[in-house]
């Protein structure tokens, strides 16, 4: 086990930023911390890294208790903080070399690593630039480079793709996968479902300081009682037919959005043909009809009663 955090409680006055938060990270995996703004993702990372005092609980990294002076543990960790944190008056290259040098003493190795990471994040053309001359996305890449240049065994990335365009975002996500292939264990926080789904081996869903569930994407989806979701739009009739639809076998519930019906079924056999029969029997003409597997959003909705969408 790379990280073991048990029952962490962190209070800010009345607010419980972390409320018996639990997290286990296995070697070599990409673990996603998924949850809405303010759910405590950053707080969790700061507690694990011993930046923040917490009220209860226990944290171990690499099997040892983590403290502010655990320099040997810190040597093997890389952090990419949520806010860009670099020196404004050092160039891209100097910034990376400074942070790399806090871990790697050998000058030659360091030169190599710095060059490698600059290529890795695609800042070669910009290495003599000062951060204020970089665009937001490029600044984020620099922020990432400063956290990973020393090839740490364990990397924390706190929402590295926020406010980044699609191209930069894909670039960053691909990079993270590569880091993981090269042997780093990764903790990745995000409030984007798609990112978590495509990137992470396992996901912890968080809300209000609690870790609600943990598992692979498939495991999480299997928690929901919804097994299949069919979305249908009809030409006729004008009136609401939700109640009629509910009479179809195995229908859990029916929702309506943008004039379309969202029909959740509790298990996955013959649902579509049952629905087609219903359409025929009622002389309906459909304009749209497709089936969807449940998403993480459904999981989140079911756990918290609210959607995880911006």
């Amino acid at each position: 086990m790379v990280i073991k955090a048990e029952n962490i409680v962190k209070k800010y006055k009345e607010l419980n930023a972390l409320d018996h938060f639990n997290m286990e990270v296995k070697e070599g995996e990409i673990l996603g911390l998924l949850g809405p703004n303010g759910c405590g993702k950053t707080t969790a990372i700061n507690c694990i890294l011993s930046l923040l005092k917490f009220d209860e609980g226990d944290i171990q990294i690499f099997g040892q208790k983590m403290t502010p002076t655990s320099y040997n543990i810190k040597k093997q960790i890389g952090l990419v903080p949520q806010e860009v944190a670099v020196f404004e008056n050092l160039t891209v290259e100097e910034n990376i070399d400074y942070f790399c040098g806090l871990y790697i003493e050998d000058k030659n190795i360091r030169r190599e690593y710095v060059k490698e990471v600059i290529d890795f994040v695609g800042l070669t053309e910009y290495k003599k630039f000062y951060p204020k001359k970089l665009s937001g996305g490029l600044k984020r890449r620099l922020n990432i480079a400063c956290g990973i240049s020393h090839k740490p065994k364990l990397i924390f990335l706190d929402e590295p793709t926020v406010a980044v365009d699609a191209q930069s975002r894909n670039f960053i996500l691909e990079g993270i996968k590569r880091l993981n292939k090269e042997g780093s264990t990764i903790i990745y926080t995000t409030h984007y479902l798609e990112e978590a789904e495509m990137l992470c081996d396992r996901i912890i869903i968080m809300d209000r300081g609690k870790s609600l569930v943990t598992g692979t994407v498939e495991e999480l989806k299997s928690i929901t009682s919804t097994r299949e979701k069919i979305i249908a739009g009809f030409e006729n009739p004008e009136e609401d037919i939700s109640d009629k639809i509910k009479s179809i076998p195995h229908v859990l519930d029916v929702g309506k959005a943008h004039g379309e019906y969202i029909i959740n079924f509790e298990n996955g056999t013959n649902n579509l043909s049952n629905l087609l029969d219903f359409i025929k029997d009622n002389d309906l003409t459909y304009t749209k009809l497709y089936s969807q597997l449940p998403s993480l959003n459904d999981v989140f909705l079911e756990l918290t009663g609210k959607e995880l969408r911006e």
Binding site: L51, L52, Y71, I77, V86, G101, G147
Partner: protein, 351 residues
């Protein structure tokens, strides 16, 4: 050791290239010096108008005073002294017991007092009168040197010697996870906080001493002012000013959660106010404070430096400097010690 050096180089580069350092550290002192020079140049370059001193013929200081160029010695009996002072015929009267009587305070009175103090010292030490060298280092050379207006420039030098306060603030906030994002980041790396702080103090001192040297060169070679007759003693006070400034900066930086911008403004205002009290805007303020609340001049760090520079270079007096030196050193140590309490907390309640 290697770590300290590496950190000093990078943190130093970061501070040195900062726009606010370029302004507050390099340009502002020179702009102020230029401004003061223009504003007061009329006064500085003016021949000191003759100072009238009344004294009795039998007074032992009479023959000495007679030889002082800028003094116009008038033979007046002690009984008539008051009348002459009131009418403004003389600026001061020296009684037979070598006490000075004045009516009002001003620059002329300050000059007389300065000269008289020296005479008393020499008489007390029982040195032969020929050893009286104050004419050399005080009066005979150029009128400029004798001009108390130079207090303004000593005060300016004193103020900027404390400008290590800015790199001090920078050092404190970059090392604290709860003060800046970069501080938080650095606290997750394996660097020791002591390494970070020592590097910052070294940087602060080097950068500010560099900026002080620049100002002194500007005063000497551009404005052509001869401010220093004893560069060694002066240097000690300027260095102590630097130490005090950096310590104050680390204290201001570490003791509260205000933003770095607020901390910098607070420091500028504080040093400016202390300099104002020590006579940077007008020497009359200093004269008036020395007269009414003398303790203020003795404890205000910028006054200590200003007064000492004035004494060392203008009055050629290097005695009794240790009290000021000790006080500045004590201030610095206390500020550092208190800051250490704030900086020592390595885990934070809130970030």
């Amino acid at each position: 050791m290697k770590n300290i050096l590496r950190n000093s180089i990078y943190l130093g580069k970061n501070m040195f290239r900062d726009m606010s350092f370029t302004f507050w550290g390099l340009m502002y002192p020179i702009i102020l010096a230029g401004f003061f020079y223009i504003a007061f140049s009329g006064i500085i370059n003016m021949e000191i108008k003759t100072i009238n001193v009344g004294i009795g013929r039998e007074n032992q200081a009479y023959p000495i005073l007679e030889n002082v160029e800028i003094l116009n010695v008038m033979e007046i009996h002690e009984n008539d002294a008051e009348k002459s002072l009131k009418s403004g015929k003389i600026d001061g009267y020296i009684k037979n017991d070598l006490t000075l009587v004045v009516d009002g305070s001003g620059l002329n009175q300050t000059v007389i007092k300065g000269i008289l103090d020296q005479i008393i010292q020499i008489i007390a030490l029982n040195e032969p009168m020929q050893n009286l060298d104050f004419e050399v280092n005080y009066l005979s050379a150029k009128t400029q040197e004798a001009n108390p207006m130079l207090v303004i420039f000593y005060s300016l030098i004193a103020m900027v010697s404390t400008y290590g306060v800015f790199p001090g603030i920078e050092t404190a906030v970059t090392s604290q996870a709860n003060l800046t994002d970069i501080g938080a980041r650095i606290n997750t790396t394996p660097i020791k906080k002591s390494t970070l702080l020592i590097s910052g103090v070294i940087d602060g001192l080097l950068i500010n001493i560099f900026s002080n040297i620049l100002l002194l060169l500007f005063l000497r070679f551009v404005l052509k002012m001869d401010l220093f007759t004893n560069i060694w003693y002066s240097g000690i006070f300027i260095l102590l000013g630097n130490l005090f400034g950096v310590s104050l900066g680390i204290f201001v930086g570490s003791s509260n959660k205000k933003s770095p911008g607020v901390k910098v403004m607070f420091s500028i205002a504080t040093t400016l106010f202390l300099s104002f009290l020590s006579g940077m805007m007008s020497p009359n303020i200093k004269v008036s404070i020395d007269k009414n609340v003398p303790i203020l001049g003795k404890i205000n760090p910028i006054s200590i430096i200003t007064n000492s520079l004035y004494k060392i270079n203008l009055l050629g007096n290097t005695r009794n400097l240790s009290q000021g030196m000790i006080l500045l050193a004590v201030y610095s140590l206390v500020l550092m010690a208190v800051s250490y309490l704030f900086l020592g907390r390595s885990q934070y309640d809130s970030i």
